[in-house]
């Protein structure tokens, strides 16, 4: 499973939706994921890809990880995999 499909699976499970309901443009708010749900989704992403995601729930906008949409999350994970697994 590629990064995009895995992220969609994790996000869909968190939002209690079907993966087909999630698009690359979906934002956490648009699919009903609150701040606690976001923290849980990031934990699931760390577990799935065995990476460490620099995300601070106190100041999401200052984190070096863009969570504004599924697309930015996928891009961020691909970058982290490249950095942390190289």
């Amino acid at each position: 499973m590629n990064v995009k499909d895995k992220v969609i699976e994790i996000v869909a499970e968190q939002a209690m939706l079907e993966p087909s309901d999630i698009t690359m443009e979906s934002t956490p708010e648009s699919i009903g994921i609150d701040s606690l749900g976001l923290v849980e989704a990031i934990f699931a992403i760390e577990e799935a890809f065995d990476i460490s995601v620099p995300f601070n729930a106190n100041a999401p906008e200052e984190s070096d990880f863009d969570i504004s949409s599924v697309a930015t999350i996928v891009a961020g994970i691909e970058r982290l995999i490249a950095e942390q697994k190289s």
């Binding site: 499970e13 209690m16 923290v39 934990f43 460490s52």
Partner: protein, 402 residues
Amino acid sequence: MKRVVITGAGTINALGQDVASTQEAMREGRCGIGPLEFRDVERLTVRIGAQVKGFEPESVFNRQQLSLYDRFTQFTLIAARQAVAQSGLTFHGEMADRSGVVLGTSGGGLTTQDENYRAVYEEGKNRVHPFVVPKLMNNAAASHVSMEFNLRGPSFTVATACASSNHAMGQAFQMIRSGMCTAMITGGSEAMLCFGGVKAWEGLRVMSRDACRPFSATRNGMVQGEGAGVFVFEDYDHARARGAEILGEVLGFAMTSDAADIVMPSKQGAARAISGALRDAQVDRTRVGYINAHGTGTAANDKTESAAVADVFGTHADDLMISSTKSMHGHLIGGTGAVELLACLMALNDGIIAPTIGYEEPDPECALDVVPNEAREREVDVVLSNAFAFGGLNAVLALARI
């Protein structure tokens, strides 16, 4: 001062997953103690307990709830749902603001701690689930009850080891009696039956490896249980005005401290709590027909408790019945007084006194009518529930039929 009544009850424990099945087991003198089943149990020397079996959390709670609910919270919510449903109360507006939750627990989310310590120490993981803290905190159960039923008044958790739920119910009682609250969800919960939980108790060497036999000369220690008991306490006038079914009246409550020893019980501390509850209830001691004992099945507790009862009741000690239902549902530590209150309600409402099972041989130091092995039919007007905790903290409730 307001009168305080009980208008709802709920439970899940080794004897049953609701009040009716639990009281039926108590009537039949059924034992809920058996071989423990959990990871690494083979590394324990104590391998028995009163575990809740046949309970599938996934059938009751969704995935997101389960990520936040430790087992002790799951037990609490199941019991609270039963209690609130029975009471028929809903909480809106001023009623919501004047109602709250006071629950007892000793270990809180101990299973969550156990699993996550295992993950980081034993398995060397460097990452834990983000909800470990809100899941393990001792007030998690009380908070989730407040959220589920919209209880917006005073809510908190009481932790006084084995007396936690009696202390909690005593607080709820006083808050309604004083006029501060209209209804309170109260009781307690415990889920310590995991490797670390039992291993810690093993260290004290007060646990039995075969059975819980309170007051019997052959007793050899306590046996742990798990589960929850939750009640709705309500202002009598409020309950009466809405025509609620009343399960019993809470007449009085007292708490004392031994101020003596961290584990050894004191006869004086226990006796002061018992006589204090009678004084608070303003009932003559001769009206007490039944005492649900703390009765842990340890050498020290049972003889000390018997001596305290003899001291307080004098010659009436020979006329009253006292039993320990821990012989059936085990010692639920911070939730034990709440499950034991069900035996008190059964005595008041059905005239059936739950037995002390596993009783083999009289002990001259426990020379009371302990209702050995078989339940007894007897009408009683006033009952007591004793709880005496490690740390010398004692809490006794007095109840009556209304």
